[in-house]
């Protein structure tokens, strides 16, 4: 018995099972991802990025963005047009200090109850009260206090402004201001937990295009279409299964063999190769208003000296990094702080490796023999960060900067850069709202937000940024943007290296993909062709 019989049994078991599952397969979308949601409530504490995908597809918002088609045929959201979702129309007040929404009459939550303005108010109050990321994001559009939200009648909802802010309306279309079924949620609220945070973590009280059929944290999430959805055209996929497969190599293998339909998080090298091989559809889109950079702490020596920072900018091998670490999936910035697709972008790539000039700058700064330092990066993104760090380390050694590499585990990365004591490090930032002053406000402004990882504070810069945020004259606005870019290139608190790209690989039979600013998959537009 033993081995021989065992082998035969195993081989029999491996024989393919008949396609009783074939019909289900065509209208089911199988997504493979590295990690999944840790919380089905986007307002929850410590909610991770994959959770935004769940919230986006399961909940509705008042507004959404339109679509535009790019010259190469790919589609993306159009940040200049807002479209109705739960709100079928809206009217700005004559004095410009409020907006009134008329909700659609036929919208229902998953439990069959109608969507009313009371639900919207409860949801928005929740978003601005719970703190953390949701409140921060609401504030980015000047949505700050529950007093701003008013129920006029069951189907009419008003938002009062605290100031005129061009970001307010777009901020209502981002993933955060979801409309929750307040009646259902309140049934599960308690005195200590008035916003039902505990219950909504695993039980969405939603009305969106998809319902959560099952959620096994760390394993998979299964979505089922809500056939009564009225806020847009009915999605084509009846079921969406999102499986978590931690190994990138396996995800690629699954796609290539057709056992998975679509995936985002593969290494850039795999996307470059899959695009060339042509068996799968690979769509890449530069991430808006985002860049990956080499940051330096400008408060503490040695990087406090501007000539040292300029020397660094003149020695980083931008093209090499772009080719070897990113496989050209992105846009080379080589120092320019505004991303392509954002107002004020210029394809100027201001810096090229010039070791002689860099050495001279180091000598002028008083460090002719260089110094020792530590280069840190987020291990959670090691696929790209590690080759970048190695190439940067080698380049810095040319001008005498001897850097030891410090890999910081992903969970500790935020704590590390919050302390703002790393001398030099690799990081990236992308803003959901596509305005350069929005990016600069959170990354460079002297208000010293957490994302101002260099602790850079310069009143001249602040004046220009603040002016641009509320400027309405387009000519003056362009001048201000040029102004803060010029100050940036002089002071160089960080060296932007490249603009990352959001790549997706999918079977040729899957169509309808659309790029969204939140970089998550919107199942509602996808279809099997």
């Amino acid at each position: 018995m033993t081995r021989r019989t065992l082998l035969i049994v195993a081989l029999l078991a491996l024989a393919p099972t008949p396609s009783a599952q074939a019909q289900g397969r065509a209208d089911t979308l199988i997504v493979v991802t590295e990690s999944g949601p840790n919380n089905l409530d986007i307002h929850g504490v410590g909610t991770n990025r994959p959770a935004y995908q769940a919230a986006w597809n399961v909940y509705d918002r008042l507004l959404t963005f339109g679509v535009k088609t790019l010259p190469d045929g790919t589609r993306m959201y159009d940040y200049s047009t807002l479209k109705p979702e739960l709100a079928e129309s809206w009217q700005l007040a004559p004095d410009g200090m409020s907006v009134t929404f008329k909700l659609r009459k036929d919208a229902k939550f998953h439990d069959g109850t109608p969507v009313t303005a009371h639900d919207v108010k409860w949801s928005f109050d929740r978003a601005v009260t719970v703190g953390g990321f949701p409140t921060f994001q609401m504030k980015a559009g000047s949505l700050e206090k529950p007093e701003q939200f008013e129920v006029v009648d069951d189907l009419t909802f008003r938002v009062k402004f605290v100031r005129k802010d061009k970001l307010t309306l777009p901020d209502l279309a981002v993933p955060v201001p979801v409309v929750i079924n307040a009646r259902l949620a309140k049934k599960h609220a308690t005195a200590q937990d008035p916003w039902a945070m505990d219950w909504l973590k695993a039980n969405p009280a939603a009305g969106g295009a998809y319902r959560i059929e099952s959620w096994k944290p760390g394993v998979e999430t299964i979505y089922a279409r809500n056939d009564d959805w009225k806020s847009g055209p009915l999605p084509r996929f009846r079921r969406v299964i999102v499986r978590e497969v931690p190994s990138a190599g396996n995800r690629r293998a699954l796609l290539e063999r057709g056992d998975a339909d679509i995936s985002f998080d593969l290494p850039p090298k795999d996307f470059a190769e899959l695009a060339k091989a042509g068996k799968l559809k690979v769509i890449g889109h530069p991430v808006e208003n985002a860049h990956a950079y080499l940051g330096m702490n400008v408060k503490n020596p040695p990087f406090a000296h501007p000539k040292v920072r300029q020397a660094v900018a003149h020695v980083i091998p931008y093209q090499e990094i772009f080719d070897s670490a990113v496989f050209q999936r992105g846009v080379l910035l080589a120092g320019y702080p505004i991303a392509r697709g954002t107002a004020g972008y210029e394809a100027m790539a201001p810096f090229k490796p010039d070791p002689d000039k860099a050495k001279k700058l180091m000598a002028e700064a008083g460090y002719p023999n260089g110094f020792e330092t530590v280069l840190s990066y987020d291990q959670g993104f090691a696929t790209i960060n590690e080759p970048m760090a190695i190439l940067a380390q080698e380049a810095l050694a040319q001008i005498g900067i001897r850097a030891t590499i410090n890999k910081v585990p992903g969970a500790n990365w935020r704590a590390a850069f919050m302390k703002k004591d790393m001398p030099i490090f690799l990081n990236a930032f992308g803003g959901w709202l596509n305005y350069p002053e929005y990016f600069f406000f959170w990354n460079i402004h002297g208000q010293n937000a957490i994302f101002n990882t260099s602790s850079y504070q310069n009143p001249e810069m602040d004046r220009l940024i603040d002016a641009a945020r509320f400027e309405t004259d387009p000519k003056k606005y362009a001048e201000q943007v040029k102004g803060f870019v010029a100050v940036f290139l002089r002071d160089l608190p960080r060296v932007p290296i490249y603009q990352p790209q959001l790549d997706v690989a999918m079977q040729k039979s899957v169509g309808g993909y659309q790029y969204w600013f939140h970089r998550q998959l919107d199942y509602r537009q996808l279809a099997r062709e």
Partner: protein
Amino acid sequence: MSRVVRHARHVVGENPVTGVAGGVFLALLVLAAVGPRVAPYDPLLTNTRHKLEAPSPAHWFGTDQVGRDLLSRVLVATRLDLGIALSAVALSFAAGALAGACAGFYGGWVDRIVTRVMDTIMAFPLFVLAMGIVAALGNTLANIVVATAVINLPFYARMARAEVNVRREAGFVDAARLTGNAPARVLAVHVFPNCLPPMMVQASLNLGWAILNAAGLSFIGLGVRPPTPEWGIMVAEGAAFIVSGEWWIALFPGLALMLAVFCFNLLGDGLRDLMDPRRRT
């Protein structure tokens, strides 16, 4: 001396595999010593124009994603990996043997404490314990060695304790005590040396374990820091490239790992046969 040599030749003759393993072990030691000098390229030198090249006459093992020569990296890593394994096992051996010998010899509360501590360590899933120690103490070489040493302690302690226990009441020990030797001296000079042979076998088996442990830690990101070449971390990095067809990045360090561990295991078996023919398995 010649009797030992004759015995050794007899054993090796019966067991050619041990001979081969011994030879490989010596070769590894030599490589560890001269690795950096025989490596054709600088293991840290990047050359992105020649990245991801398959094995060729210029690069026998190919190049990795930043163009570093893999042959050089594998050769230079020998020193680090053998170093980790040898220091971890040496530390483990020394500490465990001391603890176990004292426990077996003195008995009483010394015995009870040592046994409790060893039981606690053994009760942990070993790899998870190593993970936890390195994660808690920090991602340095020293801590990897410490973690590996800690999880191997119980083997030596138990073995030493058992062996010392067995010999404690033996005739020659009584004789030594009666002639006025202090108990500690009796333990160190008379009892302990007789316990060494079986423990050496365990040590050589553990060498393989130590390397695999370090490799496993690298796979989950707790290993050595880049750009230091180390077999485990090279396999972990190369794993991402297997599916896209760049098999050489993971294969060669993997083979080196396997060769080393394999050799240590076979050597351990051979040592056992050499030391005590009665116990031959």
